[in-house]
Symmetry: C2
Subunit: 353 residues, 2 copies
């Protein structure tokens, strides 16, 4: 646990960079004092901010200077071609070269994914990367993937997502035998798109180190029915944002309700600590940090609009993935599964039956 971990931070990515990145790194050191950072970006802006920190400045972070930045709305393919000296790209390259153990960026999601894929390459055996994140649920936390890396998925991709998701749940959430479900519109076998039904057949017919429970529905996400929810990137992205939007709507309704009478205002004052507790439980900053799974290295995306607390949480997620050897664990698991029969074979067999 005392091993020093070095993370490369894209200091210029996100709405309030580089401020929240530098302050986030400083905050992260409170919980994880053994972390060390490479700050990649405009030195003239970063250095004065570091000087103002309490902990970060004492760890003597490396500042890797560059003035190029990936614009938030740039197409990933354009960024990939033209932003080779950007803070995002140089931060990722630190991981590829072995100088850093992982990278965190609050910048352009598509560009971060494209650059991470190119620079870190895919984890051997994995076909497509996935974006994964945590959700608060009625029974603890659930991991969900894909949240938007692959809009069109096939059965084999979903099977691999299930595998990566459960490794994540095992080593980061500490679950012994995670439960995994495929997101669908009903729990009956004949429901849903064909590629989802194919993936279910493969998962049912394979000897797995996790429990595949079959299909789950949208309300099972917040219900916490399973530890890992697997779906294509389009559906996952819509579900994630629908849940966020619903939370915000209810929070607004709640605020409005408490303002309707002086009795309610008084009640609010008395119950404030409880309401603050609820707020903390649903705080999006707690769930900040989407992992790019399936790459041959640790790359974490922070929400672009987050603050220093949120960015510190994204750093914490990256540190957890590195510490628990996530990438190696996925490779090892893939090999165990593939010994004898490859995932491809399994899938084809399932289709033939």
């Amino acid at each position: 646990m005392a091993e020093t971990l070095r993370l490369a931070l894209d200091a210029m990515g996100g709405d309030r960079a580089p401020e929240i990145v530098v302050r986030g790194a400083d905050l992260a050191l409170e919980r994880m004092p053994d972390l060390r950072f490479d700050l990649v970006g405009d030195e003239a802006r970063i250095a004065p901010l570091v000087a103002k920190t309490r902990r970060l400045k004492t760890t003597e972070p490396a500042i890797i200077h560059t003035t190029e930045v990936v614009p938030a709305d740039e197409k990933p393919s354009t960024a990939l071609r033209t932003r080779k000296q950007s803070s995002m790209r140089l931060a990722i390259d630190r991981v590829a070269s072995g100088d850093a153990n992982g990278v965190v960026s609050a910048g352009n999601t598509g560009a971060l994914m494209a650059m991470s894929k190119l620079s870190l390459r895919m984890c051997p055996g994995i076909k497509r990367p996935a974006i994964a994140s945590f959700f608060p649920t009625r029974r603890g936390e659930t991991c969900m993937l894909d949240l938007g890396a692959n809009l069109d998925c096939d059965a084999e991709t979903l099977v691999q997502f299930a595998l990566m998701g459960q490794v994540f749940a095992r080593i980061v959430l500490g679950l012994e035998r995670p439960t995994v479900g495929l997101l669908n519109v009903g729990s009956e076998e004949q429901k849903g798109h064909e590629f989802i039904r194919e993936a279910a057949t493969t998962l049912r017919d394979t000897d797995l180190p996790f429990e595949f429970v079959g299909f789950v529905e949208g309300d099972d996400i917040a219900g916490g029915t399973v530890d890992v929810v697997v779906c294509d990137g389009f559906t996952g992205n819509v579900a994630l944002k629908t849940a966020e939007g619903t939370s915000r709507m209810i929070a607004q309704f709640l605020r409005e309700s408490f303002r309707t009478s002086w009795l309610s205002r008084l009640g609010y004052l008395l119950a404030r600590s409880s309401i603050d507790q609820l707020r903390k439980r649903l705080d999006p900053r707690r769930y900040n940090g989407a992992m790019f799974l399936g790459l041959n290295g640790v790359s974490v995306k922070s929400h672009g609009g987050t603050d220093a607390i949120g960015f510190a949480n994204a750093i914490g997620v990256a540190a957890d993935l590195v510490r628990h050897g996530f990438v190696k664990e996925v490779s090892a698991e893939l090999e165990t599964l593939s010994s004898g029969t490859s995932v491809d074979d399994l899938n084809t067999e399932a289709l033939a039956t």
Copy 2:
């Protein structure tokens, strides 16, 4: 407004039928005393329940006797083939024969859709039916479709859904020029599945009696960004259930929060009327009643687990659709759009540019 409306009710559909159906009809008469009902199902069970009602019994509802019922988990194709004397089918047939103006059932959704399609037929010009419902949002109510009738949609189907959804928003919600958005994973033109981008091109290039605002995302549903959200049935079903699950989770967290200290309990008591108000605002019974749009008749699905209040709301939705001549309005609008160029042509033209 004083015109008598007759609705056929599947008295045996739903978890607590026929009780909630009979009591729901009785409740509906409170708000709409001019309604009349055909109750289809087991007379021996229905008649004693009717005798116990206050209003319903005075309206002398017709009881159409049958003992066959569509099981909740039966495959739609099986139900279609074998349940020709079921309460569901006979209720739908009352509309097809002109004896009733609309049908409401809390039974098997797939069977109700399949039977309604066969018996009522499609609205001329409409390719596929859609399930539509209301959502509470930060700015009033939003209509969303499809919620599960068609898992795989093409561009033309989405364009027709947009058309039907806005007719619904205009005549039932009373909006003059509703705003319509296509659900996607980003607002940029190049995002999302191809059939969604095609539909957007068609909607942008057509002279419409509503405002097409382009793509919206999952958080725009509860955000109330548009009056009508259009998507394929798989995505819509997942989004609907994700929103429901998130609401239930927050309600549970809120209850738990208020129980943490005696101060919070006291606060809860003082703020109770406000919290009850919030509960009412989000009450799923208020939003009960999914419309099958695109059929040549009014068919409304109530949630299977609802109570009498929820069922009365579903009756209210059916009555609204009949009163406002929804089916005729959709046909008229389709014709206006098609005069000169058909929707098919428009779509092909848009694709060619």
